[in-house]
């Protein structure tokens, strides 16, 4: 706990830490081949180093997740279906709020969380530095490229990718449909365009990526449109479907699929520059109340089985980064999209304070 | 005025009692004592501090100075820092609102004090029955207390107050919520009850008739201070101050110069500003240069012809006659002063008549000088 309370995220500290970490993308040699001292068990159709019997004895899993209510419940449902003896409970909040919460709790001496899923790498790095993640190398890590794992492996992994383009309400739209990212700056969207709140990881990525491409003035123009900021993609598409907003700057592909299937009059646009995407990262938490269950979950989530669930559950529809993952239910593979990721995650993480300042300002806070 | 005979050791003693009501001084230095078995009444207009004094004796108000002793034992003493809580003083009280507990039966109400004292159920049954019998409420024992009339509640309150044989009973205007007829009857019953039980009581009322009828001694209070202490006769017949004179029955106040040269037979002569001379009795009070005398309206007599040999006789004119049923009130002009005469209505005297007025000198009471000054 002591390493927690005094920790402070300064730009300098992060950069210092960052230089100590091998940069993601420049892989440290064969991390994966090392450190697996136990031989894994096979349970159902995947490998795990967790003691399944003990996990079932623990009987519970506490999951903190950034997903909306239905999505989080969906993830838990998948795990619970496979391991009925383990009861699941969860807390959901948008990534920024979720991270604040878990830090505050740990500072207060409460360690109630087994696994945490975030929609932003920046807090994941921070949590890793603070020793918040449990170091556990899953035998299922073999299914992943090094880019999609923590560095070194064993802290968190990319359980999926949430790509987003532009989406609009086809019934309410006036004028020509948007085609590229620049089109979202059109003054006719004033008061009728939505985005995500500043706690959203995806929003951070979009801010970073589009700024890099189009320059600092991009978001200043966007601010003039007085966008509505929403907490979750469900709420965002809810408003879009009903016409409360005409267009959204953050149209997440999974939500588009879901609402289209419900009969909503929404259309999706994949701009030529690419879809902004944020990795969704899962990791077991240190000092978890149910350590075996949490390891089991990590293995489950990483496995083909778990990834299939993440990809096909209508509340999730994540794009999987597992090397042997099948296409998404719509027939599209993640690699079919041009995805806009930050190249340098550390530089990205260091921009967080600037992002928050600008984004809060855009939202009037 | 000292009462005749040796005084028994007092049961209740109040010495220099001072009580504040919030920031306002309600009782500003009151002293009196009560002999065992007596009823002492605190009499005065509202706001005079009589209820506060009673509640201080009960232990329901905390005084700021003075001492209260029961049977020589201090219940409150500011000097010795003693303040025994009300429930431990062993007194009993009848409240103005009766304070009957609506959620209990009559029996339970009366039995309460015995239950507190952990009496056995046979003892309780016996004593409650006896107490209810004394107030003629036996038939109501099982009744819910909330279903009683005012008078019935009053009796139950009374029974409850003496069932556990307290040595002292405190009464806070117990009859003021009853109608006039009932009040009169209850007065007698209460008096009788006290005599039968031999209880010492302190009684608070603003009703003059009640005080005169029931008390062994009366303390007249005004503005937190004692005006006069004495038996009903003394208070009525020998008022010390103009206030007492006027509060206890109706009185005419006559002011003037002392005419020492006209003194005869031990009587004191007073000459008014209008030149009238009246003879009164000093009753041991100091005779100064300026005097005030009090004459009760009932003691002034109207007659057609002057009675021979009477020291106080004057011709007066009747200005107004007010018929009041049992008596008539005559307003007469005496010199330059208006006096009120109360006489039996047997012979109506028409307004405008010239008649004679006389009064016995012993009925003309010299008021105590200091008290008169404050009138």
């Amino acid at each position: 706990m002591t390493d927690f309370i005094k920790g402070r995220l300064t730009r300098r500290a992060l950069l210092q830490g960052a230089t100590a970490l091998p940069l993601v993308g420049i892989a440290a040699p064969a991390v994966l081949a090392q450190g697996m001292s136990k031989s894994p068990n096979k349970v159902l159709d995947f490998l795990t180093n967790a003691d399944v019997a003990k996990a079932e004895q623990e009987g519970q899993l506490v999951f903190y997740c950034h997903e909306n209510e239905a999505g989080t419940a969906g993830i838990m449902e998948g795990f619970h279906n496979d391991f009925p003896k383990i009861k699941t409970s969860y807390v959901r909040a948008q990534t920024g709020a979720l991270y604040s919460k878990i830090l505050a709790e740990r500072q207060a001496g409460r360690f109630d969380v087994d696994v945490i899923q975030l929609s932003d790498l920046s807090p994941a790095f921070d949590f890793q530095k603070k020793g918040g993640y449990e170091h556990y190398e899953s035998p299922e890590s073999t299914g992943y490229k090094k880019d999609n794992l923590s560095s070194p492996n064993g802290y968190f992994f990319w359980t999926g990718v949430d790509p987003a383009g532009i989406a609009y309400n086809s019934e309410k739209l006036t004028g020509a449909a948007p085609k590229e990212w620049k089109d979202i700056l059109d003054p006719r969207w004033k008061g009728k365009i939505s985005c995500k709140i500043s706690a959203s990881g995806l929003q951070f990525v979009q801010w970073y990526a589009l700024r890099k491409i189009y320059g600092d003035g991009f978001w200043k123009e966007f601010a003039k449109l007085q966008p509505h900021a929403l907490d979750s993609r469900v709420q965002l598409f809810d408003r879009l479907a009903k016409g409360d907003d005409m267009i959204t700057a953050v149209g997440e592909y999974p939500a588009y699929i879901l609402f289209k299937s419900k009969g909503a009059k929404v259309e999706f646009v994949a701009p030529p520059d690419g879809l902004v995407a944020t990795p969704l990262v899962v990791g077991a938490v240190n000092k978890a109340p149910h350590p075996e269950a949490s390891k089991l979950f990590v293995d489950w989530a990483m496995s083909k089985r778990g990834q299939a669930w993440y990809q096909t559950n209508p509340n999730l529809y994540y794009g999987s980064v597992r090397t042997d993952a099948p296409p998404m239910p719509t027939g599209v593979k993640l690699s079919d999209f041009k995805l806009l990721y930050p190249n340098d995650w550390d530089e990205y993480a260091s921009q967080q304070a600037a992002y928050l300042k600008e984004w809060n300002g855009i939202l009037g806070l | 005025m000292p009462t005749p005979g040796p005084s028994p050791k007092p049961h209740i003693e109040v010495e220099n009692l001072e009580v504040n009501f919030g920031a306002v001084p309600a009782v500003r230095g009151v002293s009196f004592s009560v002999a065992p078995g007596d009823q002492l009444t605190l009499l005065g207009p509202s706001g005079c501090g009589k209820t506060t004094t009673l509640r201080a004796i009960a232990g329901l108000e905390k005084p700021i100075g003075g001492e209260i002793r029961i049977d020589g034992v201090p219940m409150y003493s500011s000097a010795r820092q003693i303040n025994i809580p009300a429930e431990k003083r062993g007194l009993s009280m009848v409240f103005q609102s009766y304070a009957i507990w609506p959620h209990m039966t009559v029996f339970e109400n009366v039995a309460y004090g015995l239950r507190v004292r952990r009496a056995s159920s046979t003892e309780i049954a016996e004593k409650v029955d006896h107490a209810l019998g004394m107030v003629q409420m036996r038939a109501f024992a099982g009744r819910r207390a909330s279903q009683l009339s005012g008078g019935q509640q009053q009796r139950v309150a009374l029974a409850r107050a003496f069932v556990f044989s307290p040595s002292v009973l405190l009464f806070d205007e117990p009859l003021s919520n009853l109608d006039a007829k009932l009040r009169g009857d209850m007065r007698l019953e209460l008096r009788e009850l006290q005599h039968r039980l031999g209880i010492t009581s302190v009684y608070v009322t603003h009703d003059l008739e009640e005080a005169l009828a029931m008390s062994d001694r009366i303390v007249v209070m005004r503005d937190g201070l004692v005006e006069q202490v004495g038996t009903p006769d003394e208070i009525y017949g020998l008022p010390r101050s103009a206030f007492v004179a006027d509060f206890v029955g109706s009185a005419n106040l006559i002011r003037g110069r002392h005419r020492a040269d006209l003194s005869k037979d031990g009587l004191v002569a007073l000459e008014t500003a209008g030149g009238q001379v009246i003879y009164g009795t000093a009753y041991g009070r100091p005779v100064g240069a300026e005097l005030t005398m009090s004459v009760r309206t009932v003691h002034l007599q109207i007659c057609a012809a002057p009675p021979p040999g009477a020291p106080n006789v004057w011709p007066v004119r009747v200005e107004k006659t007010v018929f009041q049923g049992d008596f008539s009130q005559l307003h007469v002009l005496w010199g330059d002063q208006h006096l009120v005469v109360r006489c039996a209505a047997m012979e109506p005297v028409p307004a405008g008549s010239d008649v004679y007025m006389t009064v016995e000198p012993r009925r003309v009471v010299l008021l105590a000088a200091e008290a008169a000054a404050s009138a």
Binding site: G7, R8, L9, V62, Y64, N68, E69, A73, S89, Y90, V91, R92, A93, Q94, G96, A97, Y99, S100, A104, Q107, A108, R110, D112, V113, Q226, H228, A229, L230, D231, S232, Q235, D238, R239, K242, G243, D244, K262, G263, L356, N360, G364, L365 | A58, G59, L60, A86, E87, K88, G90, M93, A99, W101, H103, Y112, G113, V116, R117, R160, A161, F164
Partner: protein, 554 residues
């Protein structure tokens, strides 16, 4: 024994109330490193930072003023109609007037957001179907927010104004009429001036409440970026990194203003020279308004429609659709939302947690607040007056701000209760102190002091007479207080939303989270379920207090 109980309970109250306030103040003046506890430097920079958000301050004032005005109008009109005219069904209406307050303002906000959003709002859909253009109402504006606030938080105004009207001696008006003044003239020249201090008091009180309002601004204001201080504080705390110091400074500023308002209220009410409030309850003269009473009846019905029937119907309507629209096609209906709601483990656990907490709060709260009420109003123990201020203190602090102080305070407490049900229990007991103490003391003061004094004179010790006289007499009031506390716990939002943890979810904040994180139809379903629970409790409350004769005091 008396002293022990009295001072013991006073100490408990003092800790409950002052501990979080201390930390709130500490955070507001903390200008050092936000993560360092205890603070490294102190200063007033945070308050200066508050001034960087003039729009938020302005919004708060605008909305509060507008809402207060609307609430006063509604309250006055309804109080007049129900207390002074012979409109049919008066008794029933009076009871129904407080229903909107017990149905949470959150529910009202949710329903009205479904009714009044410019594009998707049902009312606007109907308007467009009838040939109108654009929209006829926009509930996401300041006035929309104020309107919903007035509807659901304004019945307090009604209760207060009605009380003023009932305590006016009708002979004052009769004197005017005997001298030949018309009814209208009497009302303007006699009645109105006499009730004005009472109305003024109500205005100040309602304004203070509106300043601290949270639920409506959250649901209706947030999506359209309309922030008031309470919702801004909520946002600041939810962000990463959380702007605790700024939030604390805003909270303290708000509570300072509310404190002044409540002080003003007390001054107006207690020093009024308009001695019509004699404390006796009069039967006010009821005027026969002839045919007009059917119009007035319609007005009453209209109010209840807007505040009760319409919102409930809207939620019901939305909850049975896949995508809620005003004119659904036949294939748009489903019961799936109900099964989804009940299977969401958040909803199930939240509901059961709320019931358990409600039970615990009420059962612990009644003895605690009963003792406090006795301490303040009946005992003669020195310092009792001070305790009254401590107990009423949470009234002046918006729930959210108080909870913020609690969150900040209990995080550093050595025993880890942060994030548990215990913390919520403590929070509820604290913020409900004014409600509970006021309710119980209202009943207590009706009991003649002499009933207890007489027991004293019969020799009963404090414990004996409390057991045999005080508690039996108080019993109906205690039951009413229990029910009130139970309902208040279940509908609580402002404090719970900040203090909830993974294992301590409660229903009302869960509905809010659902609003932000799920489809609106599901949210409507959850809100309906919560309403049913509260309605059941309310029916019991009304039936019980009617039978026993005690009055559930606001």
């Amino acid at each position: 024994m008396q002293k022990l109980a009295g001072y013991g309970v006073a100490a408990v109250a003092a800790v409950l109330v002052l501990y979080p306030v201390f930390y709130l103040l500490q955070a507001a003046f903390d200008t050092g490193d936000p993560v360092a506890r205890p603070p490294t430097e102190y200063g007033v920079d945070n308050f200066a930072a508050v001034l960087n958000y003039p729009q938020i301050l302005l919004n708060t004032l605008t909305v509060s003023f507008a809402a207060t005005l609307m609430a006063l109008v509604i309250g006055f009109v309804m109080a007049w109609i129900l207390a002074r005219t012979n409109v049919p069904g008066r008794r029933v209406f009076e009871q129904l007037m407080v229903v909107p307050y017990y149905l949470t303002p959150l529910l009202g906000a949710l329903a009205w957001s479904m009714l009044g959003q410019p594009e998707s709002g049902f009312i606007n859909q109907v308007w467009r179907a009838l040939g109108g253009s654009e929209h006829i109402i926009d509930v996401n504006t300041a006035y929309g927010i104020a309107w919903v606030m007035a509807l659901f938080e304004g019945s307090v105004a009604f209760v207060m104004i009605a009380a003023v009207m009932k305590s006016m001696d009708p002979s004052l008006e009769e004197a005017s009429q005997v001298m030949g003044a018309s009814r209208l003239r009497t009302m303007l020249r006699v009645t109105l001036p006499l009730v004005i201090p009472g109305i003024l008091g109500a205005a100040i009180f309602v304004f203070a409440e509106m300043l601290g309002s949270f639920a409506v601004a959250l649901v209706l204001g947030l999506p359209s970026r309309y922030y008031v201080i309470t919702t801004a504080i909520y946002q600041f705390v939810q962000q990463y990194p959380p702007r605790i110091q700024l939030a604390a400074a805003m909270g303290v500023s708000l509570f300072a203003v509310m404190f002044v308002m409540l002080f003003l209220y007390r001054w107006v009410v207690t020093s009024g020279s308009y001695a019509t409030i004699t404390g006796k309850a009069f039967r006010p003269r009821v005027a026969d308004v002839g045919r007009l009473r059917y119009v007035l009846f319609a007005i009453c019905v209209l109010y209840l429609l807007a505040a009760v029937a319409l919102p409930l119907a809207t939620l019901l309507f939305a909850s049975v659709q896949k995508i809620a629209v005003a004119f659904p096609g036949a294939d748009n209906f489903t019961l799936g939302n109900f099964s989804a709601a009940m299977s969401m483990n958040a909803a199930r656990s939240a509901l059961s947690n709320s019931l358990i907490l409600g039970f615990a709060t009420a059962t612990l709260g009644v003895p605690l607040m009963g003792l406090l009420a006795w301490l303040i109003y009946r005992s003669r123990l020195p310092g009792a007056g001070l305790i009254e201020y401590v107990v009423m203190f949470p009234q002046a602090v918006p729930r959210l701000v108080f909870a913020f102080g609690m969150m900040w305070a209990w995080v550093v407490f050595p025993i880890p209760i942060y994030g548990t049900m215990w913390l919520l229990l403590i929070a509820y007991l604290t913020v409900f102190l004014p409600l509970g103490v006021r309710t119980i003391s209202g009943v207590m003061l009706q009991i003649d002091k002499s009933l207890e004094e007489c027991a004293q004179m019969c020799g009963a010790s404090w414990t004996f007479r409390t057991r045999t006289v005080t508690i039996p007499l108080l019993w109906p009031g205690l039951i009413a207080a229990w029910l009130l506390l139970f309902i208040a716990s279940i509908r609580e939002l402002g404090a719970s939303i900040l203090l909830m943890g993974a294992h301590s979810k409660v229903i009302t904040p869960t509905i809010v989270e659902s609003y932000f994180g799920t489809a609106s139809e599901l949210t409507a379903t959850l809100a309906l379920i919560q309403t049913l629970v509260i309605a059941a409790a309310m029916i019991v409350l009304v039936a019980f207090t009617r039978r026993v004769g005690a009055h559930p005091v606001e």
